[in-house]
């Protein structure tokens, strides 16, 4: 089953949070939705789990009992212990008794939370709490797992753990979609979708994105056209959409950050020229 959205549009008043976005989520793969705050990632994911109604387009997603969701907020009940959190969610999905205990043990072991089983969620570190939220979203082995910024603000080690859990889930056949602000995570996903102010900037596998990138990026100490340049480390990069950079400029092999920044810049500049 392929899940996803087609030509999705969501408006809040006169502001368009998601504008004509289409994405396919295949079983057994991880799709990363990338973008900064305000890009529309959370709105898109909310539309996917039907928490937000679309103003245009369609959503293909399983029913609630085959859907797993980890919201951008804490994802667990602070006053409950780790075990109690999982028990509650398990109970809602109809798990009980031995089956529930077994599933709980399995999830906690995979997430490395077994030692913290009786600790209240409020006393967990940010990373552990996210992993708990992940376990809770996975209790019922959903066909589609939707994770909203699971790794933002989390320490790198927990992030790797989370990524391993996510990989595991995809390996078992679920379709996973996660939003992130970290480009290195997007690079590691099977497919990525970059959002910028509600619109899809680019999507596909990392290789496809790189292959489909039009124009060149150069690096230098200073920029030739400041509106088309940005800082990277101690130097500046510059985007030439028509590959018409002056001779002698050092061209770089663009990575995902270069591509995303270049395309965002292009979008902004185009808007500026249009007004």
């Amino acid at each position: 089953m392929t899940f996803g959205v087609r030509s999705a549009r969501v408006r809040y008043g006169d502001r368009t949070a998601v504008d004509d976005v289409s994405v396919e989520l295949d079983a057994g793969s991880v799709t990363a939705v990338v973008g900064g705050d305000g890009a529309g990632k959370t709105t898109l994911l909310r539309a996917l789990v039907r928490e937000v109604a679309l103003d245009g387009g369609t959503v293909t997603a399983p029913d609630k009992d085959r859907l797993g969701y980890l919201p951008a907020s804490s994802g667990s009940w602070a006053g409950l212990t780790v075990a109690q959190n999982i028990d509650f969610v398990g109970g809602v999905f109809g798990l009980a008794g031995e089956a529930l205990a077994a599933r709980r043990a399995e999830l906690l072991a995979a997430a490395g939370l077994t030692a913290a089983v009786d600790r209240p969620a409020s006393q967990l570190s940010g990373g552990m709490r996210r992993k708990l939220g992940f376990c809770m979203a996975m209790v019922h082995e959903p066909a589609l797992l939707v994770l909203d910024e699971p790794s933002t603000g989390i320490d790198p080690v927990s992030r790797i753990d989370l990524w391993r859990l996510i990989s595991e889930t995809a390996a078992r056949g679920a379709a996973v979609v996660m939003s992130t602000t970290y480009l290195d995570e997007a690079e590691r996903a099977a497919r990525l979708l970059v959002l910028d102010r509600g619109r899809a900037l680019v999507q596909g596998s990392y290789d496809e994105v790189r292959a489909g990138f039009v124009g060149t990026i150069t690096r230098d100490r200073a920029a030739v056209r400041p509106h088309w340049s940005w800082r990277r480390g101690r130097e500046r990069r510059e985007y030439w959409p028509d590959a018409d950079q002056p001779a002698g400029q050092a061209v770089v092999e663009p990575d995902l950050e270069d591509i995303v920044v270049a395309l965002s810049l292009a979008a902004r500049n185009r808007e500026g020229a249009a007004t």
């Binding site: 057994g28 080690v157 927990s158 390996a171 480009l183 590691r188 965002s264 810049l265």
Partner: protein, 303 residues
Amino acid sequence: MSRRDTSRDTSRDTSRSLLRATSVTHRFGDLVAVDDVSMHVEPGEVVGLLGANGAGKTTLIRMLLGLLATSEGEVVVLGGPPDRARRRRLGYVPQNLGLYRDLTAEENLTFIARAYAAARPVLPPDLAAYAGVLVGDLPLGIQRQVAFVAALCHAPEVLLLDEPTSGVDALSGTRLWDTIRAESDTGVGVLVTTHNMQEAEQCDRLLLMSDGKVVAQGSEGDVIGDTTAIAVHTDDWARTFAALNAAGQPVVLDGRAVRVADGHVARLEQILAAEGITARLEPVPATIEERMLVLARGEADTS
């Protein structure tokens, strides 16, 4: 003050350091949060502080700010102990930005400027449009920029920034770093804590903390050290992943390939052979996160 080339800085000139911690330790009862840490920040350089949770980063920063006393060792900030007078010459932007959400950007700046007895800063042209907007209604990237303007209004000589571009899109992040660099170019020393590897790249020098100690310093290569990783190329990545994971290997998915941190080719071949999986194993450069993962597993083993 001209910018110095500080890419390989191991300055022994203690009198010029903006921040310097010498063999600093802090104990909370039995718990040693910071263990014999020495570090320094020179004028004009941007130092990145990395580390897992519990590594001691926040405790170290609080000692540098003078909010926490050292159990042992010495902290020197701008030539003296980190007292209130010297704290006024620092700029600190915490994770939650320290802005009042119910006030407009302009009102926040007014308050902070008055608190520091500084002139009220003027918002740069691209932020001027947001002056009358409540901070709570601003997008995160703009909030962070406003927080910067606020922190800079009293012309600090040192900046301490906690995850400055967390949650912000790539383009806005580079703009924020433009501001940071503009400051360091005038001689301000900047200490940044981050979990974001893109951000780590922006720094002149990195410090990696683990379990209260500084385990590596220098460039990205220095920090990664001799940690290795193996990329496993195979047709059946799902089975490969499952097999390696079940065998306890720290394995993650990388596109359609599988990566193992600190992997040993022989051992991996053994595991895969047992499952009847053919794969090509390729040693690849590890990432900083993989170094941290290996450190964390090492800690877990010894505890």
